[in-house]
Symmetry: C2
Subunit: 309 residues, 2 copies
């Protein structure tokens, strides 16, 4: 009556989960069981290896704080975040700006600036301008679109990695003008190594990977009636532009900093020009492959995940 | 040059991991990436669902303490632990006792008892005897084999779930006599619900599962030159014998408590007779699909997993 073996166990597990009320949760967990079991069978996972995996996942969870999201980093470095972005883009239109990783350093509560202001409050570094338009897929400007921007400093550090992570720098929110234009000042970001002092860093080292991301600036752009875009612009010429540890770079997001852009609103500083294209909202899905770390561990230690019933 | 999409990302990730020095780690991580990506593609995982997954895994890691292993529980309830047991058994012989889950309540440091003594120090409940032999696959007794045993009390609670988890009860270690015989006293265990106050409990409820394990007694048996066996005996007639939440039950491990066993060394109390068969050691693998929770979080919070280079 009960003959559990390496083949029957998969159906037995899916059968026991068949009473799941939410059909999407049921579908996702059944697929998770099938693929997880197929993985274990394929590599013939031993008890010792299984235990190493349990230890690794436990340490990854315990590394997470309101300022550090090690599971997002694991997803990023395994290419899962980039894949979820690509699946999200596929459900949009061909025309809209491609997604890139939100990363673990986004914060919901960044300060609002006026167009033309600089988000570099404390950080020193070579000043650059950043400008362009937010348009719809017909090329028409989207007025009053929200542009959230965040980036590391000239040393490759985000404010969240500083001594007091409550002090914000190099992040801010802008709104486009009546023609959909945006323009702001910042400093030239440096590429950086992902945080290497946790379990994911141990893995990256064991894999002989360099752990670097090419220099980039993050964007989260939205407007009522449009599909939110989470993306980043990558600086051409960076040493790691072809080997991003988290697979965020794609051709259409690589930009140059030019000493003179003909229509630049900035005098005397180099600038990046980039136009973002928003698709009309088709579904309720945001493109946020990631979250403010404080939102994930908001309930503190021993916090519960929100599983929909 | 860089066209990352939902199909090319998998090869890009595996390519970047190809510098892994340990060939087994390389094989396991490449398979993990392939199966993880196949899962995400199959269900077309959305950014919101991905985030729910990150939250769930983070909460699971943060629920773990030296006395509680929520990731083991997740593995158990998804049938992964049982699958790893089955793969382990397949590498042994047909004759040896089947494996069952170590579970999250094993402790390495349980006290040693003399044959015939009772492991029930404080727990009250109907006394039972437990006896039989530890033999090799030729049926010859294995002298001085180590038998570690642990079980819940008459309420279905393990000592680790009590107010002071440092106080041990209903766990102990015995050694077989010159003929491979063992005999000891304990109390009749009750089946129990797995810990439902964490993220895994939320999932089990959302899946409409009862969360119960049938009554059972755990064993870890070993002797020099033999393959370690981690297993459990399940009481016939338990309400949940056919629907164990963690898929540990298999026919050959189901036993009866008999009022009179002809060769019972116990007078006046019911008993279970069971013979365990050990295979000769072929490889260095133990059958411990699980570990003392304190061994997993031994380095405390922000502890690092031990990834072999």
């Amino acid at each position: 009556m009960r003959a559990i073996d390496e083949n029957t166990i998969t159906d037995a597990a899916i059968e026991q989960m068949s009473s799941t009320r939410n059909p999407r949760l049921k579908e996702i967990m059944a697929a998770a069981v099938r693929h997880l079991h197929a993985f274990a069978r394929e590599v013939e996972l031993t008890p010792e290896e299984w235990l190493e995996g349990i230890k690794f996942l436990t340490a990854t969870g315990q590394m997470c704080t309101a300022y550090r999201q090690e599971f997002v980093l694991l997803s990023d470095t395994m290419g899962l975040s980039s894949l979820v972005n690509s699946l999200h883009d596929k459900r949009g239109t061909e025309a809209n700006t491609k997604s890139s990783l939100l990363g673990p350093f986004y914060r919901q509560d960044s300060p609002t600036f006026q167009l033309g202001e600089s988000i570099a409050v404390k950080a020193k570094g070579p000043a650059i301008g950043l400008y362009g338009r937010v348009t719809n897929t017909a090329g028409e400007g989207v007025p009053n679109a929200s542009i959230e921007i965040w980036q590391p400093d000239e040393d490759g550090d985000y404010d969240l990695q500083k001594h007091d992570p409550k002090e914000m720098d190099l992040r801010g929110r802008f709104f486009t003008d009546a023609e959909g234009r945006y323009y702001l000042r910042t400093i030239r970001p440096l590429g950086y190594m992902i945080p290497m002092d946790g379990p994911v860093g141990d893995l990256i080292r064991a894999q002989g990977r360099h752990g670097f991301r090419p220099a980039h600036i993050h964007f989260l752009i939205g407007a009522p009636g449009y599909r939110e875009v989470v993306t980043a612009l990558y600086l051409a010429g960076d040493d790691h532009i072809d080997s991003d540890t988290v697979f965020g770079v794609t051709d259409s997001l690589v930009v140059d900093i030019r000493d003179k852009n003909q229509d630049s609103p900035f005098n005397g500083i180099p600038s990046i020009r980039y136009d973002f294209t928003l698709a009309a909202a088709k579904d309720g899905h945001s493109g946020r492959v990631g979250a403010d770390p404080s939102q994930i561990v908001a309930s503190g230690q021993n916090g519960k995940a929100a599983i929909k019933n």
